[in-house]
Symmetry: C2
Subunit: 145 residues, 2 copies
Amino acid sequence: MAAERTIGRLAKAVGVNVQTVRYYERLHLLGPYARALSGYRLYGSEEEQRLRFIKNARALGFTLREITDLLDLRVSSRARCSDVQQKAEEKLQCVEVKVQALEALAQALESLIQACRAGQPTDRCPILKRLEKKAEVQVESRTRR
Amino acid sequence: MAAERTIGRLAKAVGVNVQTVRYYERLHLLGPYARALSGYRLYGSEEEQRLRFIKNARALGFTLREITDLLDLRVSSRARCSDVQQKAEEKLQCVEVKVQALEALAQALESLIQACRAGQPTDRCPILKRLEKKAEVQVESRTRR
DNA sequence: CTTGACCCTGTACCCTGGTACAGGGTGTAA
DNA sequence: TTACACCCTGTACCAGGGTACAGGGTCAAG
């Protein structure tokens, strides 16, 4: 199992920089499966999955801190189930708000494309017209400092 | 129309920092409606909308550069319709990929919550189990440097 | 007419998320 | 046995997106 590969191969497979993988390791986000005698980091398919997830989640506007939280979500003997459930529900809500916002944006873009096809010039920015909702895209309570 | 207000009120209404609003102005993302004789910036409801959009789009992982592009998308006398259409379609595709990724994440969270309710401990991180897809969340062709 | 809250410009600083060396070891194919 | 691609640690640097003064004007209430 867990086809071993070095950091370079992993990075290439997922499409990130080698340095970035090491950076994630410093942040305890993604460690190697094991080390070779030479000291080379070794990664398996699970690590690849994880790295891919991190990459995608980043593109969705999650911070590395949030990604850590997401990846740590699991019901273990140590974690109280109700805690996990609550966290998961919070995250879920946040994700749903994001989906809605993106869907509104998608609709706006679609209607713009429609207008294009019909050859109707749109004067004011049509993106805004459809996105007037005040609903805020929540990104984790800003608990900095 | 366009209830005038100063930068402080605008910032508070939308929930961003005053400095941030001025920062956006430097980047030509959001200018004041007008200036008072005193030099105070004045904003109307359109600016508020725009600021709100910027804030939400940021939380969705769009860069300020991308947000500028989105806000500039409109069919004007100057912009060739086909160009706008193409850009809009590109953005739309990008948005749809994001939506899909978020929905996969939402599902993962839901099944985690289910497992919680059922009192079944999930050993390995269940988020990953559902997010094995290799599909990449595209964020604008990385044309840096 | 003063005091407190707010605004102005300008410049400096900060955090997050990377990237890039420098200096040195590893591994493998010719 | 060497040459080349790759790996290691450590440290420094960078861009994006803000945030925080400093030094000074504005305005409205008391």
